[in-house]
């Protein structure tokens, strides 16, 4: 079986600090992989390496068989990899609709009418059709993050990356964003999600990846991961976060 995302021997260092120390992971089409681990374990760095927002020193990443490297192919590959950021990163001078329509308009070459129609349909899907013409600054954090998800979806990517999508949100807005992500997961979208939301991981993940110190410690289906973790370090991590 050929994986949709194939990560081989990934090493990444910031100066002396080794953020990733040899990561191998392959993600199949339609799979939902949730990456958990303590802060500084390298999980955000790992997803940012998939679309090469971070450069790395050794190893390789392939998306749909194509190697992700700097150069002329990069923008094309990135268009197939949607990304949702912790801090939303919406374009503040553009309305929600324009944020979502920009990629299809410029990258996919759709007409403005078609791009706008698709953007509106996606905003409807994340429950924000009535806010389509507002600027990001006029929306709550949860609403902004849902616009960001619609923006990523608008490119019809092969895989969606989420880099701690709820970490910057007020607690009362976490639920609305997770609900949108959960609905997406059920539609068969391939997703790689870095999060601290263990309940969400348990409900939605096909596999949970536990990282520590730049290494993958354990990969398991959520029942096993939360019910019967194999590794001592996984047990220590789960104990620490579940006991508070």
């Amino acid at each position: 079986m050929s994986a949709l995302v194939e990560i081989n021997g990934l090493h990444k260092a910031y100066g002396q600090f080794e953020a990733l120390r040899g990561i191998d992971l392959s993600i199949g089409a339609g799979e939902v992989v949730v990456v958990v681990g303590p802060s500084g374990s390298g999980k955000s760095t790992l997803v940012r390496c998939i679309n090469l927002l971070e450069d790395y020193q050794r190893g390789e990443v392939r998306v749909a068989g194509e190697k992700v490297v700097r150069g002329r192919t990069l923008a094309r590959v990135r268009a197939e990899v949607g990304m949702v950021f912790q801090s939303f990163n919406l374009f503040p001078h553009l309305s929600a609709l324009r944020n979502v329509a920009l990629g299809p308009l410029r990258v996919r070459g759709l007409s403005r009418t078609v791009a706008d129609a698709r953007a509106l349909a996606l905003l409807e899907k994340v429950g924000l059709a009535e806010h389509a013409h507002k600027l990001p600054g006029q929306l709550s954090g949860g609403q902004q993050q849902r616009v960001a998800i619609a923006r990523a979806l608008a490119m019809e990517p092969r895989v969606l990356l989420f880099d701690e999508p709820t970490s910057a949100l007020d607690p009362e807005m976490v639920g609305e964003v997770l609900a949108v992500m959960q609905a997406l997961a059920h539609t068969g979208v391939t997703m790689v999600i870095v999060t601290h939301e263990m309940g969400f991981a348990r409900r939605v993940a096909d596999r949970v990846v536990f990282m520590e110190d730049g290494l993958i410690v354990e990969v398991a289906p959520p029942e096993n991961f939360f019910g019967a973790p194999r590794e001592a370090r996984t047990r220590a991590f789960l104990q620490a976060i579940l006991s508070h």
């Binding site: 679309n51 927002l53 923008a75 094309r76 590959v77 990135r78 268009a79 197939e80 990899v81 949607g82 990304m83 950021f85 801090s87 990163n89 919406l90 374009f91 503040p92 001078h93 553009l94 920009l102 990629g103 410029r106 990258v107 923006r151 990523a152 608008a154 490119m155």
Partner: protein, 223 residues
């Protein structure tokens, strides 16, 4: 009465007003040409300074440093009086436009550089993540945000360029100041100089107020 006759001599002012207005026209034309050229080239220079390869960035930085250091009057005299010795003979308008926009270009480049660098990294990453190309990212994401940031300093720079056009009078440019000094010599009365000063104020005071207004609104918007 003597004082009024000397400095606000109505007869002299009335006689020289057409000359002064003509000079004002030249000043405005020179100013607009230099602003347009300086701003357009300054934007290009800023992009080279920020996004160019190392050697291009270094060259851009050298240009910016040199042209921010050299006194405009010295550059103007060099362009008009020294270049003819190597066969480059520019009209006084061309010489003044060249010198003014060459210096303005350096300042504008620094203004745009600061504006571009003030756009958060996350904006570039979001553009990268949806696969936007370099020029689309600039046009749709970076420059609109940078432009908002640089509007006040850019307007300030326009005022400076307009003021500096007065230096062109030393290269025989028949601008407002030159016309005024000539009229003063002809009529043996300083009233045309006062008239010129008032015309400069009439041109620039509203712009200065506009910058104040834009800055206040900008502060309110970014608070």
């Amino acid at each position: 009465m003597d004082l009024v006759d000397t400095f606000f001599n109505v007869r002299v002012l009335r006689e020289t007003l057409p000359l002064l207005i003509e000079g004002l026209g030249v000043t405005v034309l020179l100013g607009l040409a230099s602003i347009a050229l300086g701003t357009a080239s300054g934007l290009v220079l800023a992009l080279l300074r920020v996004f160019g390869v190392a050697s291009v960035r270094a060259a851009a930085r050298i240009y910016i440093d040199v042209f921010r250091s050299i006194p405009l009057l010295v550059l103007l005299v060099l362009v008009y009086y020294a270049l003819p010795f190597v066969g480059v003979r520019l009209s006084s308008f061309a010489a003044a436009t060249t010198a003014l926009s060459a210096v303005s270009c350096a300042y504008v480049a620094e203004i745009f550089r600061a504006g571009i660098e003030a756009v958060p990294r996350g904006q570039f990453e979001a553009a990268d993540a949806i696969g936007l190309g370099f020029f689309d990212t600039l046009r749709d994401v970076v420059l609109p945000q940078a432009l908002r940031i640089v509007t006040p300093p850019l307007t300030s720079n326009c005022i400076n360029v307009l003021k500096d056009t007065a230096l062109a009078s030393v290269v025989a440019m028949p601008d407002l100041l030159k016309q005024a000094t000539q009229a003063q010599a002809l009529s043996a009365n300083p009233s045309p100089l006062i008239g010129a000063a008032l015309l400069y104020l009439a041109l620039l005071l509203p712009l200065v107020r506009l910058v104040g207004h834009v800055e206040a609104r900008h502060r309110a918007a970014t608070r």
